[in-house]
């Protein structure tokens, strides 16, 4: 039924449950990484998942603050998924946000506030979601790469970022979207009430990516922790369970394995 072989990460999120092929519906998945180890590969993996499932009612809205389309396209192509084709099919909506809010100085006089920027962005998302639902794409995933850059676009107003995310969150409950967001945890180390803590409250699934405690290794790129909050409809075995494993990133996929079990 599923063309993609399940791995540890999929299992930890709940993709291996045959009764519930889209476990992320109505849930917010947060990936936290740090300077030493990038968590972008989790986004790529989940992106590929969304498109490789036989369920053609999946669609993705991608808010790219950190990389250009070419970058993602090349990576996903090596993973065996053609983003450009998906975009033409109308299953992939790409928002190039590299310069969102950057033209600041000029527009500020033109009365476009930071809030206006995010309201406008949300408006675009909402319209895109509506359009996708119209085309019978029932499960829309919104991917945000990444939140700390969204914060820069909002000129450092974390409240605004939270408001924006709240509005995206309303799409979870209203039309059964999923949200996958990447954030950098180490950015918030010295702040007392960090945005990341708010996000952790908001998240239903939390994935932390970090380097090995023992330092750099050639055949292990880092470790990963998956935490599922106890929400309804979740497999019993995943409820609030913490799972730790390590990963090795390749061009055509990522290997996940338990510590020490790699051949």
């Amino acid at each position: 039924m599923d063309r993609m072989a399940s791995n540890l990460l999929d299992g930890a999120i709940g993709f291996d449950d045959p009764t519930n092929p889209s476990p992320l519906i109505g849930r917010l998945l947060l990936v936290e990484d740090c300077v030493e180890t990038s968590g972008a590969f989790v986004l790529h993996h989940l992106l590929k998942r969304a498109f490789s499932s036989p369920n053609s009612s999946n669609a993705v809205i991608f808010l790219a603050f950190s990389q250009s389309f070419v970058h993602y396209d090349r990576i996903l192509r090596k993973l065996g998924c053609n983003l450009a084709a998906q975009r033409d099919n109308g299953r992939f909506v790409f928002f190039d946000m590299l310069t969102l809010g950057c033209s600041g100085e000029k527009t500020r006089s033109g009365k476009e506030t930071d809030e206006g920027v995010l309201v406008g962005l949300y408006c675009k998302i909402q319209r895109a979601v509506d359009a996708l639902i119209q085309e019978n794409k029932k499960h829309v995933t919104i991917v945000i790469d990444d939140i700390s850059l969204l914060e820069v676009a909002a000129n450092g107003s974390s409240n605004l970022v939270l408001d924006f995310l709240h509005y995206c969150h309303t799409l979870l409950s209203e039309v059964g979207c999923s949200i996958i967001a990447l954030d950098h945890e180490d950015v918030y180390m010295d702040i007392k009430r960090p945005l990341s803590l708010q996000l952790e409250y908001l998240a239903d699934v939390l994935i932390k990516v970090g380097p090995l405690a023992t330092g750099i290794a050639k055949d292990v790129h880092g470790q990963l922790t998956v935490l599922n909050k106890p929400v309804e409809g979740l497999q019993d075995k995943l409820r609030n369970r913490v799972q730790n494993f390590q990963f090795y990133i390749k061009e055509n996929g990522t290997e996940f394995f338990y510590s020490g079990s790699r051949a």
Partner: protein, 362 residues
């Protein structure tokens, strides 16, 4: 030799085409990237080719040492040698003065004598030095004329002649006054608009060198979000053009949180550190301590168009001035006796993430 290069991705370019390309100073890398040289041959090796076009390179300064200037100078000089447009910005009143300190390329004759003389000093190190000529630049070595090499050795004691700048595209900007960050942003945008990215041939590549972006004497130095926003803008502009931006900054002047944000912004992240003077213990511990002027750390290597991180054999290198003229980077943990085995980072193969060679590291 292109064929010996191990590649992991299924979509990779035919490498022989790289050498048929007429324009000097560019090298095709994996995943459709193109490298330009950092101006330091060893740094290019360490970074598996150089700085990829479209990337933002951040260098974390050491408040106690000016090593970041070495990196900037060589980066800029290399651009001048290759006739690439250059934008230099610094927090000084007269940034143009800095151009007078740029090193000029060592003549190829010099190169020979240099190699010979150092052979007497350290025979094994030379073997390693030569190695690069068996690498990607084989053809250019045959061409002898050092001006058309991908990367030159720069003689730090011989400044560029003033007249050399005439006819070259060099812009200098001071980032001292307050409104300058937005002005400067527009300046960068105009500069980058001359080197747009079109998927065909690369006619020219721009180099942006920004020194001490968050220096305390700048009026914007306390506007942390503005600086971050500038960096983000710069990064996205550079991404869509054929250019590389090297920005140095003293992280100690930023709050820890912002320092991290800057680091996340970087495609390639380097840091330089001073080493203590006349430290007997270090002298015992590190071989070649006498020639060392500082340390260089590689924190991130640009991952453009790929998700595979580059795991380097070593991340800490000593910065040495060979014959007091040439900038050389060496693996820190190597005693001279190990050079033959340890220098493998010079060969391109070890740079691919899938390489299985075991590494010894501190």
């Amino acid at each position: 030799m292109a064929a010996t290069k191990p590649r992991t991705g299924s979509f990779s370019r035919n490498f022989s085409s790289a050498h048929s390309s007429k324009t000097p100073g560019y090298k095709h890398g994996p995943n459709g990237t193109t490298f330009i040289s950092s101006g330091i041959p060893d740094l290019d090796k360490i970074l598996c080719g150089g700085f990829p076009l479209g990337s933002l390179v951040l260098v974390m300064e050491d408040a106690e040492a000016p090593h970041h200037m070495l990196l900037l100078r060589n980066f800029m000089s290399q651009g001048l040698v290759h006739n690439q447009p250059l934008l230099y910005a610094s927090p000084s009143r007269d940034p143009r003065g800095f151009l007078g300190t740029l090193p000029s390329p060592g003549a190829s004759k010099d190169d020979k004598s240099r190699d010979n003389s150092s052979e007497q000093e350290k025979g094994l190190r030379i073997a390693w030095q030569y190695k690069k000529y068996f690498g990607d630049d084989q053809e250019s070595t045959n061409a002898i004329d050092s001006k058309y090499e991908f990367c030159n050795d720069f003689d730090l004691r011989r400044p560029f002649d003033r007249h050399f700048f005439s006819g070259k595209h060099v812009e200098c900007v001071s980032i001292l006054d307050s409104s300058s960050l937005s002005n400067f942003r527009d300046r960068c945008a105009t500069f980058l608009s001359q080197v747009p990215r079109n998927d065909g041939n690369i006619s020219s590549a721009g180099r942006i060198a920004i020194q001490s972006l968050c220096a305390p004497q700048c009026d914007h130095s306390n506007m942390e979000w503005e600086m971050l926003s500038f960096l983000r803008y710069l990064k996205s502009m550079v991404r869509s053009s054929n250019a590389v931006a090297v920005v140095t900054f003293p992280p100690s002047l930023l709050s820890p949180s912002f320092s991290k944000r800057w680091q996340h912004m970087a495609d390639t992240l380097l840091s330089v550190r001073a080493i203590p003077d006349e430290d007997k213990e270090l002298a015992k511990l590190l071989t070649g301590y006498q020639d060392m002027v500082g340390l260089l750390n590689v924190h991130k290597v640009a991952q453009i168009n790929t998700q595979v991180p580059k795991i380097l054999e070593a991340t800490t290198f000593s910065i040495k001035l060979q014959k007091r003229r040439y900038l050389v980077l060496e693996c820190l943990n190597q005693a001279p006796i190990d050079v033959s085995s340890g220098s493998s980072y010079g060969s391109t193969g070890s740079c691919s993430g899938s390489s299985k060679t075991a590494s010894l590291e501190f």
